[in-house]
């Protein structure tokens, strides 16, 4: 079965993240965001792609929200309350707590300030949040019989999580936004090494390589210190959550260390409320914050006090955090208008801007005047300092995560197209992992793992418990010279533990495959032990000659099976010494042929490899199938070596191998 990824948003763009993944019949919607850059229908994902009829509850198994940013959650109330989705929704506890704040704030801005038509109301938000199930980190949720999900820490913002979803044998990870390097207040992403078919990862900074954050912090502190030492005022427009806390912690520490007395202000409103949430969800913050919690709450800033509008023009230096981050309006714009004309002041600009914002104008060039309105101009004489503390991981981080998880496929979302293309190339060439970056509304099909379940007999399981390892010395001439040229892939001596390939897989008509022990099989068939003494490479005909014996049993030592058999005439060998592997359906076809050919009382006799993987939590055993041998080479006990089922063509019998 394939895994289908239907990208409804954030395909080759940043904004309105929304991916619907179908795994083994289960449909999961990851994120349900809105695009902040559009005001028309494009701001929401095209939900009609999910179901033409508009019956969403039945067509989706669940919705998973990674974090509370609007481009990941903004369309949720609309989808549940207006479009009528009524199924389960999962998000982490902090996200559940903070999401309504964000949504409500956004709704207010949209409706109250800009006077737009209301997309969803406050009640919608409340109702929507009631449908949400909150999850904890690393807590495995059984959504239904087949679907398991689990959240992993992602850094980025408070409560951000990556989600692991597994249906049957197929498993994927959807990262949402994440950060691979820790902040002051949030940790780095943390995940287990999982067996995955697909990783869907964000790629905001697909080609950026960020340097150490320390240098930036130092610069920031230096600029601020210099400004306040000169009696200037510092305006730091920020988003309410995340960056504000990060910078505030940085400044607070610095103030403490340098013994500065200049006041730091937080503009009232969302930020202060947000601080409260940080204090509550202390467990979701970085190690450092958690450690200091024993003595004090790191979010109880010592040097920070709240700000009053009347203080804007109060004399003396100060540092002010004000929302919103892009100086697009509100309080930060108001302060900016007052402070920008004075030379001693400083405005700290965030790294990421939407194209139309003032902050973007300020960054692209250093203007002397900014046109705010038809008639309103602001003279900008203050210093501008740009500061990009991004909570997104950079290209190295993405590569590191992908390398760590080593999935079979990678899907890139949440990034810009040309950069994604570059990253795709890198992933494919460096890691050898297939990579895709579908556009919006594109449906991507990825083949998934499918295991055939085999029953194991008790005797086989018992034998599995006993160690049974072997050493194999490969006869290679590649010795020291290769060490110099770095071509060595394998050491000469290798270890195998073959207890898992000691079994025999039996496939009987209309029955489940079963793994049994040798002895079991032999006693069931009433045959004697045979030993293969001849194993050589020679051309083999596909036809089986007269099949007098029903003995079909091979006990080739794995040493020969896996190793390279010395082949005198490789040019026209068909198979016997090469191993071929097949999985899934292919195998079934193969077995069928083999069965017909062999006849007798048996359908098939195969060698296979069997792995107990993934530890106890997986519950079931997964088997990988390897067909090593098409035909069977048999030797009677003690007798002369006879090649059964092989017809040697051409130059007569090959030399006897042993």
């Amino acid at each position: 079965m394939d895994i289908e990824c239907l990208v409804l948003g954030a395909g080759q763009e940043v904004g309105k993240s929304c991916v619907v993944v179908t795994i083994n019949g289960k449909r999961i919607m990851f994120d349900c965001g809105m695009h902040m850059g559009y005001l028309d229908h494009q701001r929401y994902p095209d939900f009609s792609m999910i179901s033409k009829s508009g019956e969403f509850t039945d067509s989706l198994t669940c919705i998973i929200i990674t974090h509370f940013h609007l481009d990941h959650i903004g369309a949720l109330p609309y989808f549940t309350e207006v479009c009528g989705y009524n199924g389960p929704i999962y998000m982490t506890y902090p996200t559940k707590a903070l999401a309504p704040l964000m949504l409500e704030d956004y709704r207010k801005v949209m409706v109250d300030r800009r006077g737009e038509e209301e997309q969803f109301s406050s009640e919608h938000i409340v109702k929507c949040m009631k449908k949400v199930t909150a999850v904890d980190l690393k807590q495995t949720i059984q959504v239904d019989e087949d679907l398991q999900i689990r959240a992993y820490y992602a850094g980025h913002v408070l409560g951000a999580a990556m989600f692991y979803a597994k249906v049957g044998d197929a498993a994927i990870v959807y990262t949402g936004d994440y950060n691979m390097t820790p902040d002051r207040h949030l940790g780095a992403a943390q995940i287990d090494r999982l067996q995955l078919d697909v990783v869907i990862t964000e790629s905001t900074y697909a080609t950026t390589y960020r340097d150490s954050k320390y240098a930036k912090e130092r610069e920031f502190l230096k600029a601020v210190h210099k400004c306040v030492a000169g009696g200037g005022k510092v305006l730091i427009p920020t988003f309410a959550l995340g960056r504000a806390q990060e910078l505030c912690m940085l400044l607070d520490d610095y103030w403490e260390r340098m013994n500065l007395k200049v006041p730091i202000y937080f503009s009232a409103g969302l930020t202060i409320q947000a601080n409260m949430y940080y204090k509550i969800f202390i467990n979701w913050t970085s190690k450092k914050v958690k450690d200091t919690y024993a003595t004090r709450n790191a979010f109880d800033f010592k040097n920070v006090c709240s700000f009053d509008r009347s203080m804007i023009n109060a004399p003396g230096p100060c540092v002010l955090f004000a929302t919103p981050g892009m100086i697009s309006g509100g309080f930060s714009l108001e302060v900016f208008r007052q402070w920008a004309p004075h030379e001693g002041n400083l405005v700290m600009l965030p790294g990421f801007h939407i194209k139309i914002s003032i902050s973007c104008c300020l960054c692209s060039k250093t203007p002397t005047q900014i046109r705010l309105d038809q008639d309103v101009f602001i003279d900008v004489r203050c210093q501008i300092h740009q500061l990009s503390f991004s909570p997104h991981t950079d290209a190295k981080g993405i590569m590191d995560l992908v390398k760590f998880l080593s999935p079979k496929h990678v899907v890139l979302v949440h990034g810009e197209k040309p950069k994604m293309a570059a990253l795709k190339e890198k992933i494919q060439s460096e890691l050898g992992i297939k990579c895709y970056y579908p556009a919006n509304n594109e449906n991507l099909c990825i083949p998934s793992t499918h295991h055939v379940k085999a029953v194991a007999s008790d005797a086989f399981l018992q034998s599995c418990l006993c160690p049974n390892f072997k050493f194999l010395e490969t006869s290679s001439e590649q010795d020291s010279e290769l060490a110099i040229t770095h071509n060595i892939a394998m050491p000469q001596l290798q270890v195998y533990d073959d207890r898992v390939c000691e079994g025999v897989l039996t496939l009987q008509r209309d029955q489940n495959p079963k793994v049994v022990n040798h002895n079991e099989l032999m006693s069931a068939l009433g045959i004697k032990t045979h030993e293969v003494k001849l194993a050589q490479c020679c051309e083999v005909s596909r036809e089986f000659p007269d099949y007098r014996h029903e003995h079909i049993y091979s006990n080739m030592p794995p040493l020969l099976l896996k190793g390279k058999m010395p082949s005198q005439n490789t040019s026209h060998t068909v198979n016997s010494c090469c191993t071929s592997s097949m999985a899934g359906e292919e195998l079934a076809a193969k077995t069928t042929t083999a069965r017909w050919k062999l006849g007798g009382g048996f359908e098939l006799e195969l060698r296979f490899e069997y792995e107990i993987g993934g530890g106890a939590e997986r519950g079931e055993m997964e088997a990988r199938w390897w067909v090593f041998w098409d035909e069977v080479v048999l030797v009677e006990d003690g007798g002369q070596p006879v090649v059964w089922g092989l017809e040697v063509a051409g130059g007569g019998k090959g030399d006897d191998g042993t």
Binding site: M180, T181, P182, G187, A188, Q190, D192, R193, Q195, Y209, R210, D211, S212, K213, Y214, A215, E217, R218, D253, R257, S286, K287, K288, T292, K396, D400, K403, F404, S406, E430, L431, G432, Q462, C464, L465, C466, P467, F469, F471, E473, S480, A483, I484, H486, N487, I488, A489, P491, Q492, L493, Q494, V495, Y496, D497, V500, E611, I612, G613, G614, G615
Partner: protein
């Protein structure tokens, strides 16, 4: 009660194989009650052992009771262990198999050697290969307890790295780590197998396995690197580094810590790769490089790029454990490359801002380590980080910061000034650091003399007493600046006179505080002497000299100077004063007046004593200048006199020896130099000193016992220095030499009453102690080192006339253009004109002819055959040279040497001298060329 309980327990075994909860409780209460009698315990033990032998009973329960019993009553250990061993042997039923680990863990309680099932290899193997996973895990985890052949162990462990159970894999890897430390494997394929197997497990799904794999990769990687020839060693070392640096991006904290610990252990890494660890982008040098190893589960070559940003990631890590470990790894690796160290400094400096104390401390230690290796280049922008560390509220951090700061060489005055301000601020905030801080200020001042002078000039007003005549030394700042001021004269930059002398007198007022801080540099009396000396020195040289003080010196100087007390530290103010007066005036004085050469010499010999404390203080440049001027004086006298007066030459030699010894002394005691570059220098200095001293002993006839003793003492100092820095492993040789000299001293003392110095006495004690101890002679080194502190230079008084043994040798009619003809293979006669001074008939004199580096031919000169008296003897002599080489042209180096019969050392020249030689003249070249027909 006791009986009843026991009865309740004892009666059960047959009826009820499993102990009931009641009887278990009864057993426990009997065990834990300290008043239970021994007999009861013994029968209780019997019962339990019976239970243990019953295959149907619950072995785990019994064994845990047994372990409780052995814990509480150690006397029973032995029996319990025996029972447990028996139980582990008869592990037939499945229930008892599961309890084997319990049984085995009981075994270790028994320490008696007679019963040791841990050495039973077959038991070990059979237990390992049991079906029971738990037993296997226990066996592997406790692999270190078993005495199994390493080869067997290695095979078993290697095999179990393939086990499907992660805990077995982990235990097997840990076992391999344990094994790698204890065995020598020479089979390359085996080591490779272990290494690559461990590398494979770096990609295991289980965290704990990966963590163990990191350690295993590190250990076996080291073995693999060591096994490689030098040509490929570096590549393999790089491969190991890159392989391990993959793991620093693991999401498990412990693995990251382990990875950095492992990285820190790597001995050599290419600079390219080290630089790559600081950069995220691929560097040109590493872009294409690939190493054997594993990149992902499926890719079997590691690109060098895998090391990108390793250390920055580590230092930015969320967990302080990782950051500390990364800092520590940096400490080890920055030694390897200066360029890498330069890059790492930036980020390390940021670590001084870290919120975790251990990380800050480790970062400072790393910086200190870099400074020690001269790999620390501090930029101005970094310094405020350092100053931050100076006022840290943790004393350890402050101390570490100061330790590092004192090693840094600052380039700009402004930076130096802010550095001093930082230190003063430290002192103001934390007065408890005073002692250490003074020492740091003193040391910093010493390395930045020029800056100190300009600073002191700026603040000299501040240091002056206020109007009411009180010095503001209770002010911390003043005290600190004074320390700085007094450090200037010992500066390595030769600016001695520019500090106002009153500073030194001010400093005397806080002598106690100062000496507390400078205790590692000099003791209080030395310090006082130094301060007093400096406070007058400048006055004398700069101003007062012109006021006629020099004249006063002329008249009275001689008398005063000769009455010098032998102790350095005693009577110091006067000593120093006299000394400083005479350094420059002596020159003029000697030139202008026709004082006898001997009196000049006496003055010099007297003065030399005064230089010794200066050497101890480290004012080396001053000493050298003085000595140099004296040497010139003496040389002038020698030139003027018609024949070389032995006594003058002797004095010259003596001054030279003191110069060498002083230099060696200074080198030895400046520990930092010694550690990194000084070894060779010191060694050659001591070698020279030794040769000169030997010459002095042997080339002067008429040395009195006291004089000889003095030279022998200097010889002892030389040997002791040589021994105690432990540079070269010729300990035994030098010990022998030392003992020989000591025995000579002893011989002198037997001849008549002699006063030996503390130093010599102490050495005699040490020597006898070392002689008595059988093996620990090396461990007595510290005694030798300590004894050096007892040494002080004594006044050398020459009692009588000395005869200088000298020789001149001239080859007749020979120079480069006029060579002596020879026929290769045949001997050639070389005519010499030889002049000998003061050489008696008994002297065994040799003519040495050296060809090339090694081959020397000796010709004995029988003085009886030649005319002349002992005082001067002149003759011609034709010496044969036998081994003429097959060349067209060659030259010989010819010299005259005297065999020192007093020297112990035996030479093994056939037909040559048997004792040490002292050359009496400079080597002369003799040129020979093939005879042309």
């Amino acid at each position: 009660m006791e009986r009843r309980l026991l009865a309740a327990v004892i009666c059960t075994p047959e009826k009820n194989p499993n102990l009931s909860p009641e009887s278990t409780a009864a057993v426990l209460s009997l065990i834990t009650n300290p008043f239970t009698s021994d007999t009861t315990l013994s029968s209780l033990l019997d019962t339990l052992i019976l239970h243990l032998q019953n295959p149907n009973s619950d072995h785990r329960k019994i064994l845990s009771l047994l372990s409780a019993l052995s814990r509480h009553h150690s006397s029973l250990c032995h029996r319990i262990a025996a029972a447990a061993a028996a139980a582990s042997f008869i592990s037939s039923s499945s229930t008892s198999i599961a309890s084997i680990p319990h049984a085995l863990s009981l075994l270790e309680l028994d320490h008696s050697a007679e019963f040791d099932s841990f050495s039973d290899e077959s038991l070990f193997l059979s237990l390992c290969f049991l079906q029971c996973v738990k037993t296997r895990r226990w066996m592997l985890r406790n692999v270190s307890r078993f005495h199994v052949r390493p080869s067997v162990l290695l095979t078993v462990l290697l095999g179990f790295t393939k086990d499907p159970y992660p805990y077995i894999r982990e235990a097997a890897l840990d076992g391999l780590v344990f094994l790698s430390n204890g065995i020598v494997v020479e089979d390359r394929s085996l080591i490779e197998c272990c290494y690559f197997r461990a590398v494979e497990l770096l990609f295991d799904a289980e965290n704990s396995v990966r963590c163990s794999a990191v350690r295993a990769v590190s250990e076996w990687g080291q073995l693999l690197v060591a096994l490689n020839p030098d040509t490929t060693k570096r590549d393999w070392s790089d491969a190991l580094f890159v392989q391990l640096s993959l793991m620093v991006r693991d999401t498990d904290m412990e693995i990251r810590v382990a990875a950095f610990n492992a990285l820190g252990k790597i001995q050599t890494v290419s600079e390219d790769i080290l630089l790559q660890t600081l950069s995220k982008k691929a560097l040109a040098a590493t872009k294409e490089k690939k190493f054997p190893g594993q990149y992902t589960a499926n890719l079997f070559k590691v690109p060098a790029m895998a090391a990108a940003f390793t250390f920055v990631h580590g230092l930015e890590d969320e967990f302080y454990e990782v950051r500390r470990s990364a800092c520590h790894a940096l400490q080890m690796l920055t030694v390897l490359s200066a360029e890498f160290a330069g890059g790492a400094v930036h980020i390390l400096m940021d670590m001084l801002n870290d919120d975790s104390v251990v990380v800050r401390l480790q970062a400072l230690e790393t910086l200190h380590h870099m400074a020690m290796h001269d790999h620390l280049k501090v930029e101005e922008s970094h310094l405020h980080m350092f100053f931050g560390a100076l006022i840290d509220n943790n004393a350890l951090i402050r101390s570490a910061a100061r330790k590092t700061l004192q090693l840094i060489k600052l380039q700009k005055l402004a930076v130096f000034r802010s550095c001093i301000d930082g230190l003063i601020k430290n002192l103001e905030l934390y007065p408890e650091d005073e002692a250490d801080l003074f020492s740091v200020l003193y040391k910093i001042g010493r390395t930045h003399g020029k800056f100190v002078i300009s600073i002191i000039k700026e603040v000299s007003q501040e240091l002056e007493p206020s109007f009411d005549g009180k010095l503001g030394f209770n002010k911390v700042r003043t005290a600190a600046l004074l320390v700085l001021a007094i450090s200037a004269p010992v500066s390595l930059e030769r600016r001695i006179c520019s500090i106002p002398p009153q500073m030194f007198s001010y400093a005397v007022t806080m002598l106690g505080r100062l000496s507390c801080g400078l205790v590692d540099v000099m003791n209080q009396s030395n310090l006082l002497a130094y301060l007093t000396y400096c406070s007058r020195f400048t006055v004398a040289s700069a101003s007062e000299f012109s006021k006629g003080e020099a004249l006063e010196f002329h008249s009275t100087g001689n008398v005063q100077l000769l009455k010098r007390s032998d102790e350095i530290c005693g009577d110091l103010p006067r000593t120093s004063m006299d000394l400083n007066k005479d350094t420059t005036p002596l020159h003029n004085y000697l030139l202008n007046s026709h004082v006898k050469a001997t009196s000049c010499m006496e003055i010099v010999l007297g003065k030399v004593v005064d230089l010794w404390p200066m050497i101890q203080l480290g004012c080396w440049d001053e000493v050298v200048r003085t000595l140099r001027s004296w040497k010139q004086e003496l040389k002038k006298f020698i030139c003027n006199s018609r024949q070389p007066a032995g006594i003058l030459v002797f004095a010259l030699k003596y001054v030279h020896v003191i110069k060498l010894l002083g230099k060696a002394w200074a080198c030895y005691f400046s520990k930092r130099n010694l550690q990194f570059k000084g070894m060779g220098v010191l060694e050659s200095l001591l070698g020279k000193t030794e040769r000169r001293l030997k010459e002095m002993l042997n080339r002067y006839a008429g040395l009195s016992r006291e004089e000889t003793l003095h030279i022998l003492e200097l010889m002892l100092v030389t040997y002791t220095l040589r021994l105690s820095y432990g540079g070269i492993c010729c300990f035994e040789d030098y010990m022998q030499k030392l003992n020989f000299v000591l025995s000579r001293v002893e011989y002198f003392r037997k001849e008549g009453p002699l006063e030996l110095s503390h130093f010599v006495n102490e050495l005699q004690n040490i020597s006898s102690e070392i002689g008595n101890s059988e093996d620990g002679s090396i461990h007595k080194l510290y005694l030798l080192q300590k004894s050096l502190n007892l040494f002080s230079l004594k006044h050398f008084v020459l009692s009588g006339e000395l005869k200088y043994l000298d020789a001149e040798v001239v080859v007749c009619d020979n120079d480069f253009q006029n060579p002596i003809p020879f026929i290769s293979g045949l001997p050639v006669g070389i005519p010499f004109r030889i002049k000998l001074y003061n050489i008696s008939n008994e002297t065994r004199l040799w003519l040495t002819m050296t060809l090339g580096e090694k081959s020397t031919q000796f010709v004995f000169l029988d003085l009886d055959e030649f005319e002349g008296c002992n005082a001067i003897r002149e003759f011609t002599f034709i010496a044969p040279f036998y081994r003429t080489p097959k060349v067209k042209y060659f030259s010989l180096r010819v010299s005259i040497a005297m065999e020192c019969l007093s020297e112990d050392q035996h030479f093994k020249h056939r037909n040559g001298p048997k004792h040490d030689l002292v050359h009496l003249c400079k080597g002369k070249e003799v040129h020979l060329s093939m005879a042309v027909k």
